[in-house]
Amino acid sequence: MTSEFLRWATLASLLIACEEPIPEPDDTWNKIQSLSPMGELPDDPTNAVFLDPAAAALGEQLFFDTRLSADGTVSCATCHQPEHGFADPNPLSETLGTTDRHTPSVINAAWNRWFFWDGRADSLWAQALQPIEHPAEHGFSRLEVVHKLSEDTELTSSYAEIFGEYPDFSDPLRFPAQGMPVFDEPDNPLHQAWMTMNETDQQRVNRTFVNVGKALAAFEGTVTGVNSPFDRYVQERSQGQSSDALNAESIEGLELFVGRAGCIQCHSGPTLSDLQFHNIGLAPVFWADPTDVGRYEGVTALLENPFNGTGDYSDDPEAGAKKLSYLYVDAEKLGQFKTPTLRNIDRTAPYMHTGQLATLEEVVRFYNDANQVPSVGHREEIVVPLNLTEQEQAALVSFLKSLTDPAYP
C-alpha cells in the first residue's frame, strides 16, 4: 500500500510540475566531466569476500599459480600478463591450446557489468572459473583444483581463514581425481567421473571451486588503474586551475572524442565503456572464428550458468536476479561484443575481440573509414565514416594514450 501510494504521489508530482522539460544535452565540458573520476571500487554483493584483503592475498597466489593447470605450466597470468597491462600482446593467447578470442585486460575489470567479450558471466568470480576448466586454457577440472589445494597446507590454511575449514576430499571413492560436469558431452570421462558422485559431494566440490573464484576475483578487484593524466586534467580544470596534464594535441583529441567523432556514445562514463554490447562491423580475420555470434549466445550461456548471480553459490541471489531479470536474445545481438574500457588502453594492444588491430592508430583508422563488413550480423548504424583528418586522428590517439595510469609502465 505504501509503495503504491508513493507511486501515485510520484506521478502526481510529475504532473503538477506540468511536464518539466528534460535538460538540454550536456555541453562539452559536462561530457568531459562525466568521464572522470572513476570513483570507488564497486562491491560485488554476490561475492561476500570481494573486498576482503585476505581473500585478495589468496587470490593473488592462485592467479600466478601454474599448478592449477593440466600440465602445470598455465596460470591466469599466462594470458593476463602484468607486464602487458594484464592482457596478452598476441591477438589470441597460446596456452594448452589457442583461445577463441583476444584476452581482455584485468585492470579495472571490477567495474564491468558483464564479463568475457560476450558477457557470458555476470561476476568476476564466475568469470575466473571458466578458463580453469576450458580444455584449451588451463585444461583442469574442479576436482583437480580442490585436490591440488588439498596438497598445500599453506593454501588450505589461508582458505580456512576466509571461508572456514577446508573440506576433506581425501576419499577417492567419493572424490575422483578428475571430474567436472560436461552435460553436452555425456561420454566425456570427466563428466562420467563427476556423475559418479552424490549430489552433496558435488556441492561440496562446487562450493570450494567457487571460493577459489571468489578469491581470484578479490585479487582482480585490487588491479586498478584510475589515475591517468586525463583524470588529473579533469580534476585540475574542475577546480578552476590551469593544467599541464594534457598537451594541446590530447585536448584536441578529447574534444573530438566527446564531440564530432562521437566515441563517447559507446565509450561513456568513467570506465569509458557503456558496459554493453555492439556490432561495430569488424571484417573477419583468418585466425578467428568467422561464425562467432558473440552476445547472441552469451546471454543464454549466462542464464544457464549455475554459477551466475542468481544461483546457489551466489552470496546475494536477489542482487544477482536484479541484474539478470531483463536480459533477452534477439537477432540484433548477432556479432555483438562488449565495449571495452579505454582506460590503460595504450598498455593492452592489440585491440578488438579478435586482436586484429595492432595499434591505436589502426583502431582510429578503422572507425574513421567504417567500411568493413562483418561476417555475422550487421554493423550498427551508429558506426559511420568520421571523415577526420590525419591530424585529428593523431589527436584522438594522443588522447587515448593519456588514459594510462602511470602505475602500469
Binding site: R7, W8, L11, C18, S268, D274
Partner: protein, 138 residues
C-alpha cells in the same frame, strides 16, 4: 483516497495541457487511434544514464481523460531511431489493483534521443503512443 488523487492529477493535467513549450518533452498524449490517453512518469523523475529505472503509467479513455481504464494490456519498449537499436533490457510490466502500471527493467545505455513507445491492447485492437525522450544527465 485514490479517487481524490486521480482528480487532483487530472486538475494538474488540465492546467498544463497546451502550455508546453516546444522544447519540452511531453509525458502524456493520445494513442495513434485516439482511443487512449497515456500518462507516464519515471522513477526517478530524471532518467538515469545507463542504470535501471522504472515507469509509472496510467491509461485513460481517449475521449474522456477523467476515465481511467484498468482492463487493458500495456506493452512498453524504447529505441534509438537514429541508431536503429533498442534497449539491452526487456522491461517487465505489472498492473496494480488500482489500475496503474509499473514498468521495471528500463535502461537507457546510450546518451541521445530515445523513443519511448506504449502499446495498449483491449484484446483485439492495439494502439500505440510514442514519446521522444532525451537521455540523460551523465
Amino acid at each position: 483516497m485514490k479517487t481524490s488523487i486521480l482528480y487532483f492529477l487530472f486538475a494538474s493535467l488540465v492546467a498544463c495541457t497546451g502550455e508546453a513549450e516546444p522544447s519540452e518533452e511531453p509525458r502524456s498524449g493520445l494513442t495513434d487511434g485516439g482511443s487512449y490517453y497515456i500518462y507516464w512518469g519515471s522513477i526517478p523523475q530524471t532518467i538515469p544514464f545507463n542504470d535501471l529505472f522504472e515507469l509509472s503509467v496510467m491509461v485513460h479513455d481517449g475521449a474522456d481523460k477523467t476515465k481511467m481504464l484498468t482492463d487493458r494490456e500495456l506493452y512498453v519498449d524504447a529505441s534509438m531511431p537514429a541508431h536503429d537499436h533498442g534497449m539491452e533490457t526487456e522491461p517487465n510490466v505489472t498492473k496494480s489493483e488500482s489500475g496503474m502500471y509499473t514498468v521495471d527493467g528500463m535502461l537507457f545505455h546510450m546518451a541521445g534521443e530515445w523513443e519511448l513507445t506504449f502499446a495498449v491492447s483491449d484484446g483485439t485492437e492495439v494502439e500505440t503512443a510514442s514519446f521522444a525522450v532525451s537521455c540523460c544527465d551523465q
